[in-house]
């Protein structure tokens, strides 16, 4: 580190130059945290808009319980991919899409897309079907914990005890907020449902880690474009045909008042994901996943204004718990200047 010594000995400008840079680094981290929170806000808006669309025909008349949500999410991801492609054309990144797909990191981003897209979503729906919404939602909400463990193991991300506590509190808040009483009745495939819910948490948590790995070498805006397109294409070719979802997909596409609502949801969702992926490579994926949970609070706010949701006690308590967790995760931005442990 002879350079550092020289810099200091010259005094004056060199020392202050480093200080200026350190301020820039801190500003970068803070911008990353704001980006992650912005992603949560747009994700909340996206969920509310998509919910409005899914309550309309043809989604209400699907042949199976899987057809509507899977067709809706495929269409949503397709639109998100189109909006992001436009963004990448306007910002001069579009050539990087094909280039990235030809590399190993690009392949890893696609793998993350499969885990977070069709596999995560499909497993979640199977979990609801076999074990009931109460367990499926509660377990799958634990995805940031899975993500943080994987980020620690694979990416060597530094996660202090306070941040771990914050992540767990955020997840607890999401469970409280999404709480529905367990349904009675017999569930012959209950444990299969629990397994599927765990698979959903694994898929969603792993997506963030794989994406962050890929983005060591690929631009986040390009990575998320690939992710959305992969999710839509694989859903169309390999998932929807098996759940009688293609007809719903097609009908939604030609129903003007439905398709524009999904296009709007895709706009919010696409840019939410763009901010999420950008934040991953600015302040670490373990923290961003926890901060993304704040979408649940934003979802409540938007639902309050756009739909007629009733604000119940568990919604309020859940929102407060998530906020406390998020504050603990954000904690001291200076810790995030170097995201990964020395190996």
């Amino acid at each position: 580190m002879a350079n550092g010594v020289q810099s200091a000995s010259i005094a004056g400008t060199q020392v202050s130059a480093r200080q200026v840079f350190e301020q820039k680094e801190l500003g970068f981290v803070k911008r990353g945290l704001a980006t992650a929170l912005g992603s949560g806000m747009l994700w909340g808006l996206d969920g509310v808009i998509l919910g409005i669309a899914l309550a309309m025909a043809p989604f209400t008349a699907g042949g199976t319980m899987y057809a509507a949500p899977l067709a809706g999410s495929a269409l949503h991801d397709g639109f998100a991919g189109l909006w992001l492609a436009l963004y990448n054309i306007f910002t001069g990144r579009w050539k990087d899409i094909g280039r990235s797909l030809k590399t190993f990191p690009g392949f890893i981003v696609c793998l993350g897309a499969l885990l977070g897209g069709p596999i995560g979503m499909g497993a979640y729906l199977l979990g609801i079907n076999f074990a009931g919404a109460a367990y499926a939602m509660g377990i799958s909400a634990g995805y940031p914990v899975v993500g943080a463990i994987m980020a620690r193991l694979i990416l060597k991300e530094k996660i202090s005890p306070r941040v771990w506590a914050g992540i767990l509190i955020c997840v607890a808040g999401a469970v409280i907020l999404g709480y529905v009483p367990p349904e009675g009745g017999s569930m012959p495939h209950f444990y299969l449902g629990i397994g599927c819910s765990l698979l959903a948490a694994f898929g969603w948590g792993t997506e963030g880690v794989l994406a962050t790995f890929g983005m060591d070498m690929v631009d986040p805006a390009v990575a998320i474009n690939i992710r959305e397109a992969t999710s839509c294409v694989v859903s169309l070719l390999a998932v929807l045909p098996f759940v009688a979802g293609l007809a719903v997909f097609g009908q939604a596409l030609i129903t003007p008042n439905v398709v524009w609502i999904i296009a709007l949801a895709g706009l919010a969702g696409g840019f939410s994901y763009l901010l999420w992926y950008k934040a991953f490579s600015m302040c670490g994926c373990s923290r961003c996943m926890a901060l993304n949970i704040t979408y649940a609070i934003w979802g409540l706010v938007f639902s309050y204004f756009l739909t007629d949701v009733a604000i119940t006690t568990n919604l309020v308590i859940g929102a407060i718990v998530i906020t406390v967790g998020a504050i603990m995760v954000v904690g001291n931005p200076k810790e995030m200047i170097n995201l990964r442990a020395e190996v």
Binding site: N3, Q6, S7, T13, Q14, S16, A17, R18, V20, F21, K24, E25, F28, V29, F90, T91, G92, R93, K95, D96, R99, S100, K102, T103, F104, P105, G106, M215, D216, M217, V218, D219, V222, S281, M282, C283, M336, I337, N338, L339, R340, V343
Partner: protein, 94 residues
Amino acid sequence: MAAVLPMRFRILHYFSTVKEASTKELMNGLRSEYGSEGQFNENVINEHLMSMRAGGLIETNDIELDQSNNLVVNYSITEFGQGRLKYLPKSWKI
């Protein structure tokens, strides 16, 4: 001629070919490959560098102010960053 790499990957590769480089030197080195593209501007490239530094792929060496008081940061690749080069396409490996 090897296929063009995604720009962030090429930036990492570039640092493996030089001892260190500032943003300007890096841009001069990559201009012939990416110069005509909208993403090839100082703001975008500085964002890549900040992310790559936070992720431990590159590190900072000398940080100076030039004559017009602009920050000049010299970066070099880390051992961890070198490790990521194993994912380069075959045609890019030496």
